[in-house]
């Protein structure tokens, strides 16, 4: 048994290599999808795909995406810095607001919950580098499959309300966010983020609750920023400081990381890097099949219900289309009820496979502006491996 499994594995590895060989310079394909969850569970989490323990990097497996809400214990985890406090006292925790404001504020968790209007938003949190393993040659950075994303119902207070209480000075222009995580080495740039004041709208919240529970420790307990429609690079965790400035501060994680070529295709080649660059900001339209998964065995002449989730940056999903003939013809999936424009829209589509052998199922989302997902191989390379949104495909075995 063990031997057979070993052969199976080495065969899969060999064919992955062969595939990589046939790809020319700077192309894309389906991201890596055969990684297994670890045998070790992290605090408040089920075992997830585990790239690093320090700092913790955990990915949700594909199965997670057959539901519109991602359970807290299956939600992906992404930190940049290794020194993360392991104990937080909710009774004494304070968030500090300072800089170009009339009054500095130091707000406790209790005051946050009592003295401000409480608001909720269901929103997708997706890493800009989600699905990065689709890019060849390898775009440096964590080689995520599809699971560096999730959707939760966040509860907290509006960032705008906090800033109004502090009173913005006339020349205020940027808002800086810092969490309690720290670099191990004093000269390493910390993970500090900045937002231009004009990006501030009523949807941006400082959240303390996720799906009706306190934020899990690994998702940023006790407070994190939630910026619906935007990639998660600025959703700062363990948020402790909000500093308003009149000028942009030069920061590594703003100036170098999380940027794409500033041209129409947001693309370049490894030989010809494109400068200038721009921040990744809002999410493009995307869908992922949660069920079935690659290599699921299904019976012929039996109904198979394909399930998954679709989302964009807040315009909302108009349609999800399914193809079982490599994208030549498409059928329209049923969409579940709308949980808000920033949320996952769950979809389902019943098929009845009649032919034995391999069957590839594809899903393509179209948003209300008419923007649709391109095929995976049509996506152009960028050096950071950001914003992949190729049409998803899973291949099942019909017996």
């Amino acid at each position: 048994m063990q031997r057979r499994e070993f052969f199976k594995k080495s065969f899969a590895a060999a064919s992955a290599l062969a595939l990589a060989d046939t790809l020319g310079a700077s192309e894309t394909r389906q991201p890596i999808d055969n990684r297994k969850v670890s045998s070790i569970a992290f605090p408040e989490k089920r075992p997830l795909i585990t790239y690093s323990d320090r700092p913790p990097l955990l990915e949700s497996p594909r199965e997670t995406f057959s539901r519109a809400i991602t359970p807290n214990d299956e939600f992906f985890v992404r930190w940049h810095m290794p020194e993360i406090p392991t104990h937080i006292d909710p009774a004494t925790y304070k968030i500090h607001i300072n800089g170009a404001v009339e009054r500095e504020l130091h707000i406790s968790l209790d005051s946050l919950k009592l003295d401000f209007e409480q608001v909720e938003v269901t929103a997708v949190l997706q890493c800009g580098g989600n699905s990065r393993s689709a890019f060849t040659p390898t775009a440096g950075g964590i080689q995520w499959g599809h699971g560096a994303m999730g959707c939760a119902k966040w509860k907290g207070v509006r960032l705008r309300d906090l800033l109004s209480r502090a009173g913005l000075k006339k020349d205020a222009a940027w808002i800086g966010f810092n969490g309690l995580d720290n670099a191990a080495y004093y000269e390493t740039p910390n993970f500090v983020r900045e937002m231009p004041l004009e990006d501030l709208d009523d949807h941006v919240i400082v959240a303390y609750e996720m799906n009706g529970e306190d934020l899990p420790y690994l998702n940023g307990y006790p407070l994190r920023l939630v910026i619906p429609g935007h990639y998660s690079d600025s959703w700062v965790k363990m948020l402790s400081n909000i500093t308003v400035t009149t000028e942009y501060q030069k920061l590594f994680f703003m100036d170098v990381a999380y940027r794409v070529p500033d041209n129409d295709c947001e693309c370049e080649t490894p030989e010809n890097r494109f400068k200038p660059t721009k921040p990744i900001t809002t999410m493009n339209v995307k869908s992922i099949i949660g069920y079935p998964t690659n290599n699921t065995i299904v019976h012929h002449n039996t109904h198979l219900v394909v399930r998954g989730v679709a989302f964009d940056d807040g315009h909302g999903i108009r349609d999800v289309l399914i193809s079982t003939d490599g994208g030549k013809t498409w059928g329209t999936a049923l969409l579940d009820k709308d949980a808000g424009r920033y949320a996952f829209r769950a979809f389902r589509y019943a098929i009845k496979p009649t032919k034995m052998g391999k069957l590839t199922i594809m899903a393509k989302a179209i948003n209300r502006l008419g923007a649709e997902q391109p095929f995976a191989h049509e996506i152009k390379w960028n050096h950071g491996g950001y914003k992949f949104n190729g049409i998803d495909a899973v291949t099942v075995e019909v017996i």
Binding site: T50, R54, A184, E187
Partner: protein
């Protein structure tokens, strides 16, 4: 009765308060190949993150590994001597290389 109720509500929502002690994040021993140059890797590449970061990149070209090692010094200010940078890049290509120069 009322007091009891609020107490219940509080414990039900405040998970971290329930466990009022430090969180333990498990340690994972990422299997990494040993060989020429590994000493320099062990001395320099564990300060800021696990070996998981290295392994996760998959087999890569010589230029990729040199660029990454230099990035750790230039962007993240890792205090690594030029000699160690060379032997680390050499090690990475030998054990996690794809045979290509570029």
């Amino acid at each position: 009765m009322k007091i009891l109720l609020t107490a219940l509500v509080l414990t039900a929502s405040a998970l971290m308060a329930q466990v009022n002690e430090p969180v333990e994040v498990p340690y994972i021993a990422y299997e990494i190949k040993t060989g020429k140059g590994f000493d320099a890797v062990q001395a320099n590449c564990l300060t800021c993150h696990s070996f998981g970061y290295i392994i996760n990149q998959g087999p890569q070209a010589r230029a990729f590994w040199l660029e990454k090692t230099v990035k750790m010094v230039d962007a993240f200010k890792a205090p690594i001597t030029p000699e160690d940078v060379q032997s680390i890049a050499e090690y990475l290509f030998t054990y996690y290389g794809n045979g290509e120069e570029k």
